[in-house]
């Protein structure tokens, strides 16, 4: 076990990480942020997507200790009342069904809009291409992200 001190959604946090523990397990069980989800542990589904120092990362593929000294953002850090434009757009566009991919999808979308406030449809598709959804057929998610971009512009 080694101590990991980092920033989670703007607040300083510290917890112990086990050898070989990935960031997903560390955030969920070590820190208690349950918003990133386990979908594969293989880097193939995107449900565990978080933002580390401004870049999207698959928490299941990142050693927990690598969070040391870095800024980690998760869906739990958007708006607890759901007032972030992306959250509003996902609700308005019925862009979630089971909701399991939603936190990761929101983080992929957020990273996109942070660097590209007015993305094209193709740029949205590229940005969410690492995040699988089995329910919606993606179209409502694409529509929600495009509409959030418009709302923020």
């Amino acid at each position: 076990m080694r101590p990991v001190t980092f920033t989670l959604n703007g607040a300083p946090r510290a917890a112990f990480a086990a050898e070989g523990q990935n960031l997903l397990d560390f955030l969920r069980r070590g820190v208690g942020d349950l918003s990133p989800k386990y979908g594969c542990g293989q880097g193939s589904c995107g449900a565990c997507t978080v933002i580390v120092d401004g870049e999207t990362r698959l928490a299941c593929l990142m050693p927990a200790e690598d969070a040391a000294g870095r800024r980690v953002e998760t869906a739990a850090g958007l708006d607890p009342q759901g007032r972030h434009p992306l959250q509003e757009a996902f609700m308005e566009h019925f862009a979630a069904q089971c909701g399991y991919c939603t936190p990761g999808m929101l983080m992929a979308a957020r990273a996109l809009l942070d660097r590209n406030p007015r993305p094209s449809r193709d740029e949205v598709i590229e940005a969410i291409s690492g995040n699988l959804c089995r329910c919606t057929g993606y179209e409502p998610i694409i529509a929600a992200i495009l509409s959030a971009a418009e709302a923020r512009a």
Binding site: G20, S129, G130, N131
Partner: protein
Amino acid sequence: MTVIETLPTLAEAARSGAPFFGGGTIWMRAVNAGEAPPRLVRTADPALRDIQGAGDAVRIGAGVTMAQILARGDLSFLHAPARAIGGPQVRNQATVGGNLFAPHPYGDFAVALIALGARAVLAGQGGARPVEEVVRDRARPPLVAALEVPRPRDARAFGWLKVSRVKPKGVSVLSIAVLAPREGGRLRGVRVAFGAMGPHPMRAAGAERALEGGALDAAAIARAAAQAAEGLDPPTDAIASAWYRRAVAGVHLRRLLEGMA
């Protein structure tokens, strides 16, 4: 249970004899599945993430990520193959060095490096070896410090194509990279490489022979397409059968070459 140990220098990592943990997209998956060896090593050496050289060749540290390459306007010739790796999250993590040893059906970036004639600088040994030789060494992969990648003199001389079933992020049915420099209307130093057409990225000797020394015209393209899969040994997997890969390798090579003509 695996320990991921960070050593001060690449040389020490090389000496440790333990497998090297690069970006982690391959090793962390194995760690999660309980399939990794007890010890993996890595280094925080910043040189691994350096990109140098504005001249004929660029030296790319083995720890440079696909996202870093995509952020560099001067490396635009590498953007298409870098974008073909994983999804955005994977590209923020996957490294150039790690891609050389990514097992089938991964490793498309190495295909581009092979076609470009890139050489791998090996840690602790000095000197550089052609990437197509290095990628063969699957059992005991050497520790790569950097890649020396010749810039194509003419952007049109380098072509890239990845065929996948899922868009925009999907693993390879196959990938193709072609370097086809022209001198006085004739192709000189043609290099054609395929991904997912063998146990590791490979050069397509038949296609190269068909193109070398001639014009990039319909006849040459047809000859290259006909010989595309010569000497290659495509695998069967969940994505496609060996038969299918062999059947369409020439079609896709022809389409790529037609776009470069």
